[in-house]
Subunit: 196 residues, 2 copies
C-alpha cells in the first residue's frame, strides 16, 4: 500500500478555499468581535463540522486565511532607485486605499497583540512585504549610490510606515503625490550627490 497521507481532495479543496475567503470577508466586515466559527461557516455556506475538521480554533483558521491572502508587492528593478521606490510605494498606497486591506490589517494587528501564532505570522508577512524595498536599497548600496552608514532597515521603516500611519492611525487622506514626496524626502538624506 503506497498510500501516503493524503491532502483533502476534490470537494474538500473547494470547501477549504471557500471557507478561507469567507473568513477574510467576515474579518473585514465585523472585525475580531464578529469573527466566529459560526459566522464564517454561515458566510461560506459550510457546515461548522467542516470548519472544525480543518482548523482546531478560530485562531488557526485566521492564520491560514491571512497567509493565503498575502500578495507580495511586485518586483521592479529598472536600476533607477527613485523611480522604483515610487512605483512600489504607489502600489502599496493604492492597496491601503482600496477597501478590504486596511480594515483587515487593523483587525489582524489587534488580534496579533493577543495571540502569539498570529503575532508571528504578522511579523513574517510584514517581513515579506518589506523585501522588495529592502532589495532595491541593498542594490543601491552595492552600487555606491547611498551614504556609507545607511541602515537599510531603518530606511524601509521610514518609507513604508507613513502609509500605514496615515490610513490606520491618523485617518487622513493620502494624496497621489505622497509616495514621491516620501521617497524624495528620505532619499535626500541617504543618497550621495543629491543637491539640497
Amino acid at each position: 500500500m503506497t498510500e501516503v497521507a493524503r491532502e483533502p481532495l476534490g470537494r474538500g479543496k473547494h470547501a477549504r478555499r471557500r471557507v478561507l475567503e469567507a473568513a477574510l470577508e467576515v474579518l473585514a466586515a465585523d472585525g475580531m468581535p464578529g469573527f466566529s466559527m459560526e459566522s464564517v461557516a454561515r458566510r461560506a455556506g459550510a457546515s461548522k463540522a467542516t470548519l472544525y475538521r480543518h482548523w482546531s480554533s478560530p485562531s488557526a483558521l485566521l492564520v491560514d486565511a491571512m497567509d493565503a491572502q498575502f500578495r507580495p508587492l511586485p518586483e521592479v528593478d529598472t536600476g533607477d532607485l527613485r523611480a522604483d521606490l515610487v512605483t512600489l510605494l504607489t502600489a502599496f498606497a493604492s492597496a491601503l486605499s482600496g477597501s478590504p486591506f486596511p480594515t483587515l490589517m487593523a483587525a489582524f494587528t489587534d488580534a496579533a497583540e493577543r495571540d502569539p501564532a498570529l503575532g508571528d505570522l504578522h511579523a513574517e508577512l510584514t517581513r515579506r512585504r518589506r523585501e522588495p524595498l529592502l532589495r532595491l536599497l541593498a542594490e543601491a548600496v552595492e552600487r555606491g549610490e547611498l551614504v556609507g552608514d545607511t541602515d537599510p532597515e531603518l530606511v524601509v521603516d521610514l518609507l513604508a510606515a507613513p502609509f500605514f500611519y496615515r490610513r490606520l492611525i491618523a485617518h487622513q487622506e493620502m494624496p497621489a503625490d505622497m509616495p514621491a514626496a516620501v521617497v524624495d524626502l528620505v532619499l535626500a538624506s541617504v543618497r550621495l550627490g543629491t543637491p539640497r
Copy 2:
C-alpha cells in the same frame, strides 16, 4: 433656586472613574472581542445598571475611556530642534514599549475602523499627539532653519510613524538609539546647512 444641572456627585464620580479605568484594562487584556458592558462592570466592581446610567453603549463608554486616558507628550522647547525632537520621540517610544498603550492602540485602531464615533476620536487624539512635534517644526521654519518647501505634516508623519510601525506592524524591537537615528535621518533632508 439656583440649582444648575448637576454633575453626578460624590460616589457617582468614583464609580464613573473606576469604570473608565476598568474599561481600558479590559480592552488591553482582551481586546474588542472581550469588551462588553458585562465584563467592564465585573472588573470595575460596578453594577451593569450603573454603566447603562452613564453610557448608552459600549462604543460611548469606549470613547469616554480613551479620551480620559489621553496624555499629551510633554512640551519641550529648548530652541535646539534636534534635541527637542529626540526628547519627544524618546518619550513616545518609551510609551510604546510600556505595556498597556500599544495593545490599547491596536484594539482602538481596529474598533475605529468600524465605528465612526471611535474613528473621529482616534483622529482627534492623533492630532493632539502630533501637536508638540508640529509646533517645534513650525518654529524651526519660522527661524529659517529648514528648507523653504518643507511640509511639516509630512515630516511629522516620517518622525512618528516608524515607532507605531515597528511596534504594532513589524513586531520588531526599538533600539534605544532609534529616536536619534530617525531624527537625524529626517533632519538631514530638511535642515539647511547640514553636512552630508
